[in-house]
């Protein structure tokens, strides 16, 4: 039962990153790529009807995490207090950036919200990447299952060093943050190539094309750094060799991405990029299982799905309503994306 909920939460987080990832990426590349008012509106219109729904996956994943693993929720949210609050502020800025921009035509107003939208999207991508880095690296858990991490200490990972605990930002988590930024920028560019035409489409294709070698390099660097920081990461892989399929999927997706971009098969490239993200996330989850939050100092203190889960009756009841809710959700979203399918046009409604 705990394992099932572990998979459900992991799947919801992956869905969040794939979905909100493309609009975060669209935000990160927004100012650099879209120079004219019309291009900016095309980008906003491509993500406008869906960004809020995408973001709900974060809230729903958070709610499901709270429900299934209350101790993990309590411990990680209070331990990551400062970065989470910063993430909240960035999410707020981003929401008003997208939605309030179109309310006035004044160039100062529009320029202000453009800047806010781009800045907060890019920083969010970095923070989410750093968050994943923190979870993989481990946090200074106390005997009671709680911890508090400052934003930074000495920028070393300090694994196994009880005297100096790690900070949210160290060289490793900054690296994962950069990986996330590059990955999501490429992901956003690919989504937008599907939704746009002509000049803008060509510019976006260029972004994806230029991001690609960087992404390959960073993926290799990231894997190497993870092995260095947390050598035990391979334990699960060595026990269950099927896990080695995941890195294969990751690199195969990268290859398909390049093929898709080169041949202007943007939908294929976008799917490959999604698969790449899922592969990376599932790879991390597979390596951690059954641990959900490793301790950076003493492996015995690591939080596992068993030590943090809610009681069985609650988890069993949850399966019923979760399944119904997910079925409904998939119906809505299929409908929504179908309604707004195709290339965006500037005539008519919205943004």
């Amino acid at each position: 039962m705990e394992t099932l909920w572990f998979m459900i939460v992991a799947a919801m987080v992956a869905a969040y990153v794939v979905l909100d990832g493309f609009d975060l990426g669209a935000g990160a590349l927004y100012l650099g790529v879209a120079r004219t008012s019309a291009d900016r509106r095309r980008i906003l219109r491509a993500i406008g009807p869906v960004w809020d729904g995408n973001e709900v996956w974060l809230v729903a994943a958070g709610g499901t995490l709270y429900f299934a693993f209350p101790l993990l929720y309590a411990s990680s949210f209070s331990g990551f207090y400062l970065p989470l609050m910063i993430v909240l502020w960035l999410l707020m800025l981003r929401g008003i950036g997208i939605e309030l921009r179109a309310h006035m035509e004044n160039p100062v107003w529009v320029g202000f919200f453009d800047l806010i939208f781009c800045f907060s999207s890019a920083l969010l991508a970095i923070f989410f990447g750093a968050a994943l880095g923190n979870v993989v690296r481990g946090v200074p858990l106390g005997a009671d299952g709680y911890f508090f991490e400052p934003l930074w200490t000495n920028f070393r990972t300090n694994v196994g060093n009880a005297a100096t605990p790690p900070g949210i930002l160290d060289w490793y988590t900054i690296l994962t943050g950069v990986i996330a930024l590059v990955t999501l920028t490429a992901h956003g560019a690919l989504y937008l190539t599907v939704k746009t035409e002509n000049d803008l489409e060509a510019k976006l294709r260029n972004v994806a094309l230029r991001a690609w070698p960087l992404q390959v390099l960073l993926t290799i660097l990231g894997l190497a750094a993870t092995l260095y920081v947390r050598p035990t990461i391979l334990d699960n892989y060595n026990q269950h060799a099927i896990g080695y399929l995941l890195p294969v999927i990751v690199f195969a997706s990268l290859a398909v991405m390049l093929y898709g971009i080169r041949n202007s098969l943007y939908k294929l490239a976008f799917v490959a990029s999604s698969l790449y993200i899922v592969g990376m996330l599932v790879g991390a989850a597979f390596a951690l299982y059954p641990v959900v939050l490793p301790s950076s100092s003493d492996p015995a203190r690591s939080l596992t799905i068993y030590s943090t889960a809610a009681a069985h009756h609650g988890l069993t009841v949850g399966i019923t309503w979760w399944s119904i809710g997910m079925l409904l959700t998939l119906t809505y979203f299929t409908f929504l994306f179908r309604m707004f399918r195709g290339k965006v046009r500037l005539e008519g409604e919205g943004y």
Partner: protein
């Protein structure tokens, strides 16, 4: 009081109070927009559709503010109240999880279609998206109320070996009688906000002499909904909620009424300032025996006073609780009176020309917000000193790992951020209302005509 505890309490109180300014309007407007759209379809009258479009824009801005200030609420259970989350997450994780799965997805998926999809959809399909948004926002309200109601009146749980609370009965949690009374009372309050905002804007247009056709639609819809729901707010929902408090939290009832000494035939204090130190009310204006009657339906019934309970069970801030409760009830009574007069004038065909009444309706705008806020303060201050009634004290629930300094840092951050949001909200509201409902393209915001500055 421990300073970290104080900071965490103010942190939550401030963010949730500010947050709820927005959902009360969106939840209140949602059914009214459905009514306007229905009238437009049934009567084939385009002005109702146009009116619905205008309110959809107001709804959209308020909804956005509700979303961005709402995400921190769920996060804060974990960030600022970790001990509580660990203790009670096995139960309230159910309702909070369901809110995400059932309400938020529904709302967010259809909001885009509702706000931007009118031209892509057939009229009845677009009406359907309005209904879906209405359902989503009201479902969300239910799951939050069910969570709060469980904290007020915990049911359907057992204590696990590690000391945490876990779910024993899903249906007991969802069918908690406290939740249903509180839900009815809370949603009624939200509709009153929606109705008064609508009639206030209508009164403004008539007094201004612009968009008068729409002003009349807004007034008619607003005062009819306003009267119905302000009466329901008193009876049965307010009455039912009061009985819940009297039965399950008698000490809270005594503190709300500032009844320091229990008595048979207890009076209802209409006005007066509680003096907690000397346990009396200054300048009381009382109606004899009415409190006993309202609580137990018997004039001579015995009502327990604060003296019947040990002081460590009393809500800590009796004066604020007393004022919150009295402000809520006082304003609720005024709403009934104002709306009844407005309906009378509407029936006699004089509402639209009675300038004095239009002024009253215009100036009523802030008061439902005050009443709703005071109502929530009554509920939450009344629950003190408990976080989960009778099970966990508020003083034990906060995140022990988050220092007062870190809490203060983010509290200041929220104060700054919300000041900006509040200013933006008021600014945009003023623009939309001044712009008026005419010639609304079916979109939120006209596309910029000029080239924006390059950044």
């Amino acid at each position: 009081m421990d300073s970290a505890l104080l900071v965490h309490r103010i942190h939550f109180a401030f963010t949730v109070t500010f947050h709820y300014l927005f959902p009360q309007l969106t939840m209140g407007l949602a059914p009214l927009i459905v009514i306007l759209k229905t009238l437009g379809l049934v009567r084939h009258d385009e002005s109702y559709n146009q009116a619905a479009r205008f309110w959809a824009k107001i709804f959209g801005i308020s909804f956005l503010m509700g979303v961005v200030t709402g995400i921190p609420m769920e996060f804060q259970f974990g960030t600022n109240w970790a001990t509580f989350s660990r203790y009670a997450g096995g139960v309230i994780g159910q309702t909070l999880g369901m809110e995400g799965m059932f309400a938020f997805f529904l709302e967010s998926a259809f909001l885009g279609l509702f706000l931007f999809g009118e031209k892509r959809l057939r009229p009845w399909a677009h009406w359907g998206t309005a209904v879906a948004v209405f359902l989503g926002s009201w479902l969300s309200g239910f799951f939050i109320i069910a969570t709060d109601a469980w904290m007020q009146h915990p049911v359907g749980y057992f204590t696990a070996a590690d000391g945490s609370l876990q779910l024993s009965s899903f249906w007991a949690l969802v069918l908690n009688p406290w939740a249903w009374w509180q839900y009815a009372h809370n949603m009624g309050g939200a509709v009153i906000t929606g109705a008064i905002v609508m009639s206030s804007v209508g009164a403004f247009y008539l007094l201004w002499g612009k968009f008068e056709n729409y002003g009349r639609i807004f007034l008619r819809t607003g005062v009819i909904a306003g009267l119905i729901f302000s009466v329901l707010q008193l009876f049965p929902t307010g009455d039912g909620q009061g009985k819940m408090v009297a039965t399950n939290q008698p000490v809270t009832l005594a503190a709300m009424e500032a009844l320091f000494v229990g008595q048979s035939g207890a009076p209802l204090v209409i006005l007066g300032q509680p003096d907690v130190a000397s346990r009396k009310i200054d300048n009381p204006l009382e109606v004899p025996e009415v409190l006993s009657f309202l609580t137990y339906r018997r004039w001579k019934a015995d009502v327990k006073g604060l003296n019947s309970f040990p002081q460590d069970q009393w809500p800590q801030n009796i004066a604020l609780l007393y004022y919150s409760y009295h402000i809520m009830v006082g304003l609720g009574t005024l709403f009934i009176a104002v709306m009844a007069i407005a309906i009378f004038l509407l029936w006699r065909g004089k509402l639209f020309s009675s300038r004095w009444m239009l002024w009253i309706l215009l100036l009523a705008l802030p008061f439902p917000y005050i009443a709703n806020t005071a109502g929530w303060m009554t509920a939450e201050l009344g629950r003190q000193p408990w976080l989960v009634y009778g099970l966990m004290r508020t003083a034990d629930g906060y995140s022990k790992m988050v220092s007062a300094g870190n809490g203060m840092f983010t509290l200041l951050g929220f104060l700054g951020m919300y000041t900006v949001l509040g200013i933006l909200f008021l600014f945009l509201m003023r623009r939309e209302i001044e712009h008026g409902p005419e010639d609304q393209p079916a979109i939120a915001g006209a596309p910029p005509k000029r080239e924006p500055a390059r950044v």
